[in-house]
């Protein structure tokens, strides 16, 4: 039986968005949500709507920028891309995330 999809851990959605935009280039909200779900391969229960407050937050911080474009269904939609500040932030966050993961892994191994 496949494990139950877990909630998005607090604070990780921002990191996922930044990483995705860095890898994929400009995307609209749907594309972003879709891509994150694909990578998670069903291990993540994402209410796709929650991505929008995250996008606003990142844009207010100046880590991503948005531009109006047209979606595949011919609707007006915003396309988001990562900024230079966003790339710096991503590098720092990814680094600290990797260290946290390593620490957690060690701690959990010791326990088992």
């Amino acid at each position: 039986m496949a494990p139950l999809p877990s909630e998005v851990p607090y604070g990780t959605l921002d990191l996922m968005v930044l990483k995705t935009l860095k890898v994929m280039g400009p995307l609209h909200g749907y594309g972003l949500a879709r891509r994150i779900e694909q990578v998670a391969e069903g291990s993540l229960a994402l209410n796709q709507g929650t991505i929008y407050p995250a996008l606003l937050r990142l844009e207010q911080k100046g880590w991503i920028a948005s531009e109006w474009g047209t979606s595949e269904t011919n609707r007006r939609a915003r396309f988001y891309s990562i900024t230079r500040a966003g790339r710096r932030q991503l590098a720092a966050e990814a680094d600290s995330w990797a260290r946290t993961v390593a620490l957690m892994a060690r701690l959990l191994e010791e326990d088992s």
Partner: protein, 898 residues
Amino acid sequence: MTALRVLAARVRGLWSRRRGDAELDDDIQAHLDLLTEEYVHRGLSRDDARAAARRAFGGVERMKETYRDQRGLRFVAGLMQDARYAGRMLRRDPAFTTVAVASLALGIGASTAAFSLFNAVVLRPLPVAESQQLVVLEPQRRGGRFVLFNPVFEALRRQQRTLSGVFAVSDEPFLNVTFDESAPVYVRGSLVSGNYFAVLGLSPAIGRLLTDRDDDVSGASGGACAAVISHQFWMRRFDASPDVPGRTLRVRERVCTIVGVAPAEFVGHQQGYAPDVWLPLRPLTDRKLLESPRMAFFSGVMGRLASRVDAARAEAELTTLYQQILAAGRDPHPADFRIHVAPGAQGLDAVRRQFGAPLTIVLALVGAVLLIATVNVANLLLARGAARMPELSTRAALGAGRGRLVRQLATEGSVLALLGGLLGIVLAWLGTPALASLVSLGYTTITLDVSADRRVTAVAAATIVLAALLAGVLPALRLSQATLRTGMARDGRTTIGHAQRLTRALVAIQLALSLLLVTAAGLLLRTMRHLSGIDPGFQPAHVVLLDVRDETPGSSFGKADTAEEKAERAALYRTLDDRLNAVPGVYAASVSWLGLFGGSDLWLPLIDVDRPENRPLARVDYVSARYFDTMGMQILRGRGFSDSDREGTDRVAVVNEALLRARFSGSDALGRRLALDYQGEQQRPFTIVGIVRDSKYNDLREDRTNPMMWVPLAQAPFRATSVALRTQAGAESIVARRAEEVLRSTDPHLMLRKTTTLSARVDQKTARERLLLGLSSGFGVLAVLLAGVGLYGTLAYAVSRRTRELGVRLALGAQRHAVLRMVLADALKLAAIALVVGVPLALATAASLRAFLFGVTPLDPTALVGGCVVLVVAALLAAYIPARRAAAVDPIVALRWE
């Protein structure tokens, strides 16, 4: 950095809410479309796909809410929503809004204007370093104001240790100065001790300032004289030319070199007096005058406290020294004298002394008006709030918290206060200069800087906040309390009872405060009536006065004029007198040494030649032939002067009744001879040829007339200072212009200081009373109007709430006039409460006005009873329309309405 960027983005987000919402909707729609396509692609029907897309997306509305909160600043956004809502409510009722905003604007405007003036006169410190260390030295003799004569000042200055510096100033509002080759002009001058600028701690704009060396008369300065000009004067007269230092000016027969320009922000050592030129005191004052023990004194003496010395210690030291110096100078009662050390941060206090007290009273009066205006708005909001009770109850029931409701209602009051406040500040800005012009000293124009500084801004802001609190928060708290208590009870009687009780209390306060203002106005009105009812003994109307100085170079202090000088001067004045009397439209003109209401208080000892032991002291003036006609004084017996009374003919004099009463009671004074005792030297006697009716001399409030003697100017040509011309109504200004021309063309040394009228000069003596009367009556009317509106609103609302009850009463047989009486009685009850509260308040205010009253006591029953009557009448008038409406209720309509 990031935090700042987020804040900026959020603030931007506050303003683009609508666009932001639309954009988010676009995004969501695009997203849902794409999701739906995806599900259709996977094989779902379009409807199922749409549902699945919504599920995958999650709660749209909740997300939007999160998004919005994050976009803007939540608290501010709520506030803006409230403000927009309040704006809608206020727009819907323009009459209410106009009344509320206008009354707040008047209240806030009046108090801001009054405070600007108070600030300029009383509070604003001199723009110098550590101004709180400055002190004013006020010599006193038996508790009354006295002066420091120069030798005493010099000794004190040498011996004292508690002040780091002491200086004297002598203001010369009309200093005769000649620049280069141009004609002499008057400038505002200040003669100051050399350390003046050093003690104040100022540095020059350009050049240098005066120093002790400049003030030295021992010869160390080599006879040079230095002058410092003000920054304004530098701009005005010299176009801010940088090579002004080094230029010269002639003053008092000396040539002084301008050495520098004072800093721009420093305009002088006294509010309202901005000198153009500062000159060293000693080199420009006659040596003999300075050395004489009781001749030279100053406009003021100031100092700076030495470090770690307080005013009390300085006062103790200076008083001890002062008494020692006086004792050494063989003064018989040195203990009578002391030196009061007063705070000097605001500089010398001539204007403050005159107007400090009246301005404090004005401030209290406008405070009362502001309170009335604010209470009025609170009341109107309460009444409206009560009408909105069902709406508020519904909102409370739907879960709006008390805080939210209070905020909503308070925002309405605050929006009103803000609008009223802004309008009020504009009013204050427009009105303050007019108000400032009411503050004047007779001898010189004063220019007050009434511009807003930090204090004025802070007080205006505080006033607005106070108004917002009182007009907004108070009713809001009251209403929300009532709302929650009674919920949606169908018959909100208790609710209304609460709001009504507060409203009625507020109306009573308004009425009480207006009683205070009306009584104050009444007392001052009666004072002015008494003052204008006084017979001055002359006729002040339609007399043009020219304040002049004869600047003909001549003898200096202590040296008598030569016979030729006297003859020349007599001839000059004769010419001037003839030309003035020939001006068209002039009934009579005269030239005199002093004239009336000029402020002089000079007494000379006389000797009755036939009874030398009879030595009256009298005021003496030297006047040209038609003086009594010009002033409109009445010759009771004998004759006045004529052109044939001149040098070489019999010396004659006219005296007033007071001199007769004092010295010649019973016997006929005509033909008696009086001589002047001038510096112990008896002059040739004058024979009394006429007796003139008593008149006021310097102030209408003089309670007794002092002995006076007039002598023809032609027989004793003292330097004239006053020209007077009697003309007819409406011709004053043209006669004034012609007289100025005559003066100029007769002799350039006859210099004009000021043109005025005798009645203006008489009025000047009551300037403070006029200021207070004008303001208190204006504010009194405003207060009664506002209180009337408040009462009317309250009663009208009460009547409309009681329509059903009144209908029942009428249906059960109540008489209409009984209903009418009932409403009027209600108003009277409020008025009665107001009187109980207001009468002690009014009496307290009246007591503070004591110094400005004349002919009435603060307990004057007419003013108090009159005030009460005005109040009761106003209350009845305000109640009449609601009462009529109550009496006109149709029982059938009233009952069916339920």
